[in-house]
Symmetry: C2
Subunit: 479 residues, 2 copies
Amino acid sequence: MHYISHQKDIELLFLKSALTLDNPFNNTEEILDWVQKRNEEVSVDIKRIPFDAMNSWRLDKKKGAVVHSSNKFFSIQGLEVVTNYGHRKTWDQPIINQPEIGYLGFITKIFNGVLYFLVQTKIEPGNVNYVQLSPTIQATKSNYTQVHGGKTPNYLEHFVNATKDEILLDQLQSEQGARFLKKRNRNIIIKVDKEIEPLKDFKWLTLGQIKHLMKKDNIINMDTRTVISGISFGDYSRRTLNFHNVMNFESTSVENELLTSALVNDQSFLSFNQIIYWLTAQKVKYELSIKNKSLMDLKDWTISDSTIEHKDNRFFKVIGVNVEIGNREVTSWHQPLVEPCDEGVCAFIIKEIEGVLHFLVQAKLEAGNFDIVEIAPTVQCSSVYLEKEEQQLKIPFLKEVLNAKQEQVIFDTLQSEEGGRFYREQNRNIIIKLGDDFSIEVPENFTWLTLNQLKKFIVFNNYVNIQARSLVAALSYKN
Amino acid sequence: MHYISHQKDIELLFLKSALTLDNPFNNTEEILDWVQKRNEEVSVDIKRIPFDAMNSWRLDKKKGAVVHSSNKFFSIQGLEVVTNYGHRKTWDQPIINQPEIGYLGFITKIFNGVLYFLVQTKIEPGNVNYVQLSPTIQATKSNYTQVHGGKTPNYLEHFVNATKDEILLDQLQSEQGARFLKKRNRNIIIKVDKEIEPLKDFKWLTLGQIKHLMKKDNIINMDTRTVISGISFGDYSRRTLNFHNVMNFESTSVENELLTSALVNDQSFLSFNQIIYWLTAQKVKYELSIKNKSLMDLKDWTISDSTIEHKDNRFFKVIGVNVEIGNREVTSWHQPLVEPCDEGVCAFIIKEIEGVLHFLVQAKLEAGNFDIVEIAPTVQCSSVYLEKEEQQLKIPFLKEVLNAKQEQVIFDTLQSEEGGRFYREQNRNIIIKLGDDFSIEVPENFTWLTLNQLKKFIVFNNYVNIQARSLVAALSYKN
């Protein structure tokens, strides 16, 4: 059978690309300049407009939802939620319903033995800085099946015609359960051997460069982060790892410790089956019951001409906007966007347990989750909890994250959520490494996973949430 | 870390139990006698009654559903289904809605180095023969959380108080997607060390005995089959397997070939990731949209005083029954049951590919599926397709299954579905092994998995359907 070596080849290709920061085509400074220049070039104008003034979109009072005239794309509907999880046992909320599964895909290609990812500078209206680095393709199913005709997305034919051997990764991945109703995208990476010319706004980057660029605020978009979070670098016993010398760089750095945690499969706090048992218990314990409800009838939410918002000005607002993009040629359209009321905080606490770095995860329930709970970062909350100390104490481990010493902080940047649906939403992504004084004993809805185990769960759909995957994507294995 | 040896210990315990047919406490003949005697002793009387005559249950015309007066247990509601899968693109149907996750659990214990399962002879009204061998516990969440008070199920305290080290298996598993709306049960196996006295109607059996008893019709109930299907016997490279001599019996039997397929992790038609990619493509390709609908309004279904049935007398009927169980002391109650119009056929074709047995699976969509498609047996259909040759041709591979030669048939028995919900529903479970003349090329919604790969998918909830798991449970590794 050839597949085993094929699979190992793929993993080693990914690993080599993750460890390559030198790119003879586009060094990282040039990429930053490219993004900045594109950002300066584009003119983006976003104006809030009343729902009534939107072309093609409307707040349909009878349906109780914000819908497109074609009934395609997405809609924003109301939801009544009942659960036995957390402080609030029942609430109403608007939620984005986008039942179509879209493509988020990278074309990759080997140059001089290194795998490069074809990245584009993509403008999205909601982005904090309008242009961020996105996958080669972001397409809805209507796009790629060409149901409605229209312009074919660039490079689509490569994905549609990909053979089994060209597919390096192909997974279904969830998006924000607090904002989307069971939304999933197809995350795909293909490798092409034939010549391929980067179009305007496209460039070749190594995986190491993409990860390195996540150390800057708001450069790598959410779609890029979700796709690369699913990449596995292999599965080794500790003995094999040492023997084959898979890792050939200095062994004391945190990058090396992280890579060890990603690769080693026989040293962990829980066995893989025990993690399944923990999740089973969480899914049995927590109940999630949701019911469609008209936006007009949502408890605690008010609707004005141009905004749907919570009475306490919390969570998020639904707004209508007029988007204008371009300089000489201007493209413009109307659409609804979801605007957060606060920044979020997503943080992993990591800690060495018997020689391997472990990630402290929680089983988190959100209204739009496909399967009750997903594996989430140690801390995932709104920044309103940061303001006062008694608020901080409501969120387990938030205090530890906020009080981390500088040398404990491995990662701390702002990352944007999807700019096609969210208006300037960014979350602070933090990873801190704590020592022996941080207890291994945690509440029953928390547990410790190695990066190898986290990556194995990411392969299966609806196990690891986008906030956790975004942090996994941020991990870099070479400084 | 101790867990690796702990995990291996568990797998070897399961394997040894699966290979043990000699039971000094209860040999297999005695068990058959026990089941037969219990069957002769019990008096079960099932009478059809009008829905109006049911105590505690009613056909609620306003709700459009058959419901219990407490709104607990389960209900039977209507569903409108739209899909792009299969011949029928849209249909209405009744479906059982049982949102509570129940326990299906075995207590196991080691005697003389062998793991024994505590099995009970359980009476269920819908069983073909009323008494079948069931897990130690079958309990709803209301039962085991004692929400409503009432009698505690036998042995419940062992499950509720099980420690991490006592849990040998704990998985969420789906039930029939054509009959149940996203129903799942918690499948759990615990090992107790302290003394435990089998109550009346309980006995200790080895896993090998349970599997051996599946060679008889309708002895092992569905709940037993689903729990034991999740048992893994380990994960070995071919080299390690040969080296450690895990399998120490004759090497030419089909039992040995099946065990090899269960254990070997480095020889297979597709890599594990490639199976994920195949499933991703299937989940993206097929759409499933369901909507609640009143039973009163279901297209093609008619409702009489005592029956909800399809106009062509196909699929299944919903009936009301009066159940009386007992001899001197009689217990009686009313409840709705689902009565099939035909027997079903569930069959695996297996075939050696490059030295390892592979199972031909399909991605199958059913209305109540949790996640669009699940991995199903090669053939899963109603026996109506068996009657005429042109009908047979509508179901891929049915002809091959029906025309298998005697020496190709590994397994062929009748197995019951759950007798608490279904009235005398039994499916023919078939496994046939074909040779080189059967092509490895199959339609795109089919593919080949080793038993090791199938077992890995079973660990994750909602990947492998109950029909496929029932067949996996039937595989025995010692004759």
